[in-house]
């Protein structure tokens, strides 16, 4: 076992942190979220051109840096620490992994576009009945001559409103919850001018990102829209979900570190009854418990990211353990950070309120604690 970073990895961490500290701030990003386009395209451009982090986990042949778990760890944690709303996990981790494993010309071209910052990709997988379990695919894709015809509904598709490419899961065979028969399709996309057969309802999320509900009603796609073999997408999707889960765990660790630091600092500054509230033992012990939750989340972050290349059952078990841990930490630390900030913690005036909203969303993204605990139980046999 070894939890140390190489010099290059430490340098990457410092570079990303410095970029975000100087170029990314809460006011501008929330303005973009609430009254602007939903993101800051110039930041994304910076990720590609100045930091190169959009290619961090891509192979060199598509322009990537061929990085592994350690690179993913330092990048996603830094993004979480700065509360970055731009869709790194959606585009680079989730779509990026699916594209790499699908292979083929279109996938490689899109990978290249992601690396240079030209493509933002969203995955339309959640459906009204799936409750976070993406093997529950009722959207259908049927062949019609050289084309595919898609019908179905997807909900809460993260980043769809700002994506220019959409990955869509659809069933080409099998029953509603079969893992066999799930296929992956690619679609050029513009939420403000959706193609024929697509209805889009875009909205903001509680954590100031953008998402959309989509319905496909006879959407026609060309033959090469199918990525990989028909009906065989589950294995890659299953891995992709684990990778994305590990990435949001890591992002969550970044959020948690910031929230804990802010809370401790606030408790040292804020005076009531003539003394800093951080001098009260009950609050000190609470903050210690928050600290221990954060440290456990850090361990979970290692556990998840360093298990991604293990065989699927071990990978799934580690990722589920990590997500349960992160969810518990997110709730405990988030709620207590608000509590210790008092009513100020409930406003949008301090950072803590914004982080709390993100932590609330993170708790459930890619499966809730209950869902991951149940998966862990099933895997433990």
């Amino acid at each position: 076992m070894d939890f140390s970073l190489t010099e290059e990895q430490e340098m990457l961490r410092d570079t990303v942190a410095k970029f975000l500290a100087s170029r990314y701030n809460l006011a501008d990003s929330r303005a973009a979220a609430k009254t602007g386009p939903g993101w800051q395209p110039e930041i994304w451009r910076g990720f590609a051109e100045e930091l190169g982090i959009l290619g961090a986990t891509f192979p060199e042949k598509v322009g990537g840096l061929d990085g592994g778990p350690a690179e993913l760890l330092v990048i996603t944690e830094a993004l979480g620490y700065a509360l970055v709303i731009e869709p790194y996990v959606e585009t680079v981790v989730l779509a990026g992994g699916l594209l790499q494993r699908a292979g083929g010309e279109r996938a490689d071209a899109l990978s290249e576009a992601i690396v240079v910052g030209d493509a933002v990709v969203a995955l339309a997988a959640e459906e009204p009945t799936s409750a976070g379990d993406w093997r529950d695919v009722r959207t259908t894709a049927r062949r019609d001559g050289a084309e595919w015809v898609l019908d179905g509904t997807k909900i809460v598709v993260s980043a769809a409103p700002i994506a220019n490419q959409l990955l869509i899961t659809a069933r080409t065979a099998g029953g509603e919850r079969d893992t066999e028969g799930i296929s992956l399709f690619l679609l050029d996309f513009d939420a403000s001018a959706p193609p024929a057969g697509v209805t889009v309802h875009s909205y903001r999320t509680i954590d100031d990102r953008r998402a959309a509900d989509l319905s496909f009603d006879g959407l026609r796609l060309p033959a090469d829209a199918l990525l990989g073999a028909a009906g065989a997408a589950w294995e890659s999707l299953d891995r992709g979900i684990d990778e994305a889960t590990a990435a949001v765990v890591s992002e969550g660790v970044g959020c948690l570190r910031r929230v804990l630091a802010d809370t401790v600092e606030y408790a040292k500054q804020r005076k009531q009854f003539g003394v800093p509230i951080g001098s009260f033992q009950a609050l000190q012990h609470r903050m210690v418990d928050m600290f221990m939750e954060v440290e456990q989340a850090v361990a979970a972050q290692y556990l998840a990211l360093l298990s991604l290349d293990a065989e699927p059952a071990r990978r799934a078990r580690a990722v589920s353990a990590a997500k349960v841990t992160l969810a518990r930490a997110a709730r405990f630390v988030g709620q207590n950070a608000v509590q210790l900030h008092g009513a100020m913690g409930m406003t949008e005036e301090l950072a803590v309120g914004h982080y709390f909203k993100r932590l609330t969303a993170l708790e459930q993204e890619f499966g809730s604690a209950d869902q991951h605990r149940a998966r862990y139980v099933a895997l433990a046999g």
Binding site: D133, I206, D213, F273, A343, F356, Q364, A374
Partner: protein, 409 residues
Amino acid sequence: MDLNWSAEDLAFRDEVRAFLDDKLTPEIRRAGRLMTSVYPDHEASMAWQAILHERGWAAPAWPVAYGGCDWSLAQHYLFGRESTLAGAPLLSPMGIRMVAHAILGFGTDEQKDWFLPRILTGEVFFCQGYSEPESGSDLASLSMAAVDDGDDLVCTGSKIWTTHATEANWIFSLVRTSRTGKKQEGITFLLMPMDLPGIEIRPLVMTSGEEVQNQVFFDEVRVPKRNVLGRIDEGWTVAKYLLNFERGGALAPALQVWADELGEAAAAQPGPGGRPLAQDPAFAAKLADIRIRTDVLEILEFRTIAAIAQGRNPGPAASMLKVLGTELSQALTELAQEAAGPRGRVYQPHATMPGGPIAEFSPPADGYVSGLDWQAVAPLRYFNDRAGSIYAGSNEIQRNILAKAALGL
């Protein structure tokens, strides 16, 4: 010892039920059902107050002479319970349930005669000016100055967490009239019209996006001394008296309603493994624990109300009920947010009835809602409900009180 109601009580309950069935319009019910916090939509709440006032039930706890009801303890309890079960919105607590009791207890006849009828009709709508940016849990350290100037007090400073300040036309406030002696001395309880020159309001945007809370700034605001309630420098006595009313309500009935609604919603909501969420053992266990804690809270609340009604000092029970009730409510709003699933991440306040305007949000032109109303309510209620353990004396302060008062520590 008996858990059941008497025949008289049941008859009264039926009378209240019939009234509620008759008078609660779908719009008003909607305002109750889709509340995102303890603060109702202002218009719906005032509309309901008018209906209650017409029936003579707007302020049942007041003395009959001022428009209250000659009810037994059980009747008061049942009225509140039935109103909650029927989905009636809460009335604003600041006037009828709070400052009115201070006026009844400390006001001059002139103050009583002027304010009380107007509070009943809604002509006078109060907000509360207690907390200050530097005085939260340590309320007695408040510093907003009220300088004696002949017939007036001249107020300068600021109050924060003032709910519905923009809707209110009056504010009741604690101000500092003297800085000698203990910090609890030298505080004065003052009633001010909100349209006095020098008052400015800055709405605060909460994590729910709602502008219900405000900071109110006072710049040499001149208030006649006849607006003092009680005596100058003795406002802390009034505030302490009011505390008894602030923490008086029964929360269990509302929690029962919400738990039932959540149970029904979960029965129709897809859960893990393709079964309804209600059949997920983890969810079912959490909901059951909440229901059990609510069954228990109901007894504790009733026991306390009964003690008060019998003229006994409920002792530290009020602090305990505040802690138990708010933590239970938080467990419930937390579980509802879990139950909302992926839809719980969608921000759609237009499908709810929030307590105030929403900052920086334009509802979709077509009114689209992702999922069901309760899923739209869930995140906002979860965010707003964090206040439960913070306001009206944080739960940490309540535990300090209990350590002393209940355990002698």
